[in-house]
Symmetry: C2
Subunit: 341 residues, 2 copies
């Protein structure tokens, strides 16, 4: 059924070594031989069996990217960047969903798909330090997103506290005094939501006239537009009357704006809104969204580069100390804080 190197070799009257040489484009094959072999390959429709090649080489050229979910445009855009960049370096990306569940994250972190993938880029939500320590000496792992792990892995993350502080300060600089935070999380202190909340607190603390009460902080269950819409509604219902909102991410911000408009409040005149992520949606909202833009391209490249350095960089590189890489971010000012020009 399947045509193998051997079949091609037999038909072309050469050894499998020669066919292999032709297939892999090695020099030092006489043009005549090359042509004859190529002709048989075309005739037979031969295609190399990658699985066999992988087994033999001990490498697959596949890296896995494990993200919570693709439904969030931030992750979709990031995945897009990783896939494109990796493709340019001749690596294939296997995309996995963890749904932000610890058991799934543990599965991937601990070497699921061993030797099918050369390495793994993981963006954890619930993963704990101990899960990482329990990890065997598997394929290299690169972590995405700020978190305080002690296990020795390359780690790519922007400075969330600084970014959140920048966003909040922008609102305060506009003269807002009651800046709410939407998207706090109950539970573990390690999470990114806590870091962004910390940034919010820091900016408020620096600004004498600004309200700082906990009633300005609204938690959400998830990170979706619906969560944002609900949280904003709850906040308004509770009698808190913010004049600005800094949101955990753009989706929550978009949901919040939706609620504000439904309640007859104007953005930014009555309530200014800042998001986080710089997803495409935010640019084309009826009121375009001011946001923090983590440099996704830089994140994707840093992650892939870090992984490939361990894979292709030779022994010193593979053994090098883990690095913590901090791509930059920028505040993108749009109508939700500045109004229509």
């Amino acid at each position: 059924m399947n045509i193998s190197l051997k079949d091609v070799a037999a038909r072309a009257g050469v050894s499998v070594k020669t066919v292999s040489n032709v297939v892999n484009g090695y020099r030092h094959v006489t043009p005549a031989t090359r042509q004859r072999v190529q002709q048989v390959i075309d005739e037979l429709g031969y295609r190399p069996n990658l699985t066999a090649r992988h087994l033999r080489k001990g490498r697959t050229g596949i890296i896995a990217l494990a993200l919570p979910e693709l439904g969030n445009p931030y992750f979709a855009e990031l995945a897009d960047a990783v896939i494109s960049y990796a493709a340019g370096l001749d690596y294939i990306v296997l995309l996995d969903h963890t749904n932000g569940r610890r058991d799934q994250e543990v599965l991937f972190a601990q070497g699921f798909r061993a030797r099918l993938i050369d390495g793994l880029i993981l963006s954890p939500i619930e993963l704990e330090n101990e899960d990482l320590l329990a990890r065997g000496n598997d394929a290299p792992l690169v972590l995405l997103g700020e978190r305080e792990y002690e296990a020795p892995h390359d780690h790519i993350a922007i400075d969330n506290v600084a970014a959140a502080r920048t966003a909040t300060r922008h609102l305060l600089d506009l003269g807002r005094r009651r800046v709410a935070f939407l998207g706090a999380r109950h539970g573990r202190v390690r999470r990114v939501a806590h870091l962004r909340l910390r940034g919010w607190r820091a900016a408020i603390a620096e600004s004498p006239g600004a309200a700082a009460g906990d009633e300005l902080v609204a938690a959400t269950d998830g990170y979706t537009r619906g969560d944002g819409a609900q949280a904003m509604a709850r906040l308004l219902d509770s009698g808190v009357a913010p004049d600005a909102v800094f949101c955990y991410n753009d989706l929550i911000a978009i949901g919040a704006m939706r609620t504000l408009i439904e309640r007859g409040l104007r953005v930014p005149e009555d309530v200014a809104v800042v998001g986080f992520d710089d997803i495409d949606d935010g640019r084309y909202c009826s009121t375009s969204l001011t946001t923090i833009a983590p440099h996704k391209q830089a994140i994707a490249q840093a992650a892939v580069d870090a992984l490939l350095a361990r894979l292709d960089g030779g022994d010193e590189a593979a053994q090098a100390d883990p690095r913590y890489i901090r791509p930059g971010f920028a505040l993108i000012r749009r109508e939700s804080t500045l109004g229509r020009p």
Copy 2:
């Protein structure tokens, strides 16, 4: 370095066959043996080499999903559905970008990654019939999205003409008489944009008082929000004053709404807008978007099911005639045509 079955077998004092039996959870291993082997596996941190298994079995359990790009939420949401559904059936999904480029699509269609993947789901944009005919007897291929190919492959697609007609008729039923179409494409007649344009024409033709001129049709280069915003601006600048717009997809519709609002036009009072795809964004726009919702879940399941039938269904199933499956769609009415309740 890497621990193999053989290492485990040696240490446990059994044959590799027995270890394999334990690893694969076969019955008929005495509990004592099983336990001893399992202990050695844990001690050594043995993990099966999937590449070797794949080579031996001739199957990998991996299916590829080749989409234009993940940046478009429609494809991201669809990918999400495919990955989740396939995971439930113990299949891994390898996600690929074609960027809607013919050369990329040809690459995948013609058996790129042979024997690494068991089958392929491809959503082509530029692929031609001849590209498909040139295809060898490779892994099964399922096509996604309406197109008129003559090659024998399973094909999953909603009825775009009917859906576009439904959308346009909705606008006409609301009393609109100058319904524009945004997102026509120059070039090949096979494309989905032509089908949706055909549906628009059909609905207009059925409605005596409706304007039908070509000046109501605006082409776009791509399918993004930016394309929609520009096309809407061009349409308005050209002096055409539509009272409704049916857009090729939700992204174009969102871009169009953005332009309308910038120009001081109200949605839906001055111009009603309908999109296509039912992406999440549309639900939370300041003016939520009326749209055609293709049943993504059904599409994803049909695609995976069709592929797996060929893979796992035995000989008759593998040889069965190609099927054209037509998942349904629904018109979702929201504020962009009905106004705020």
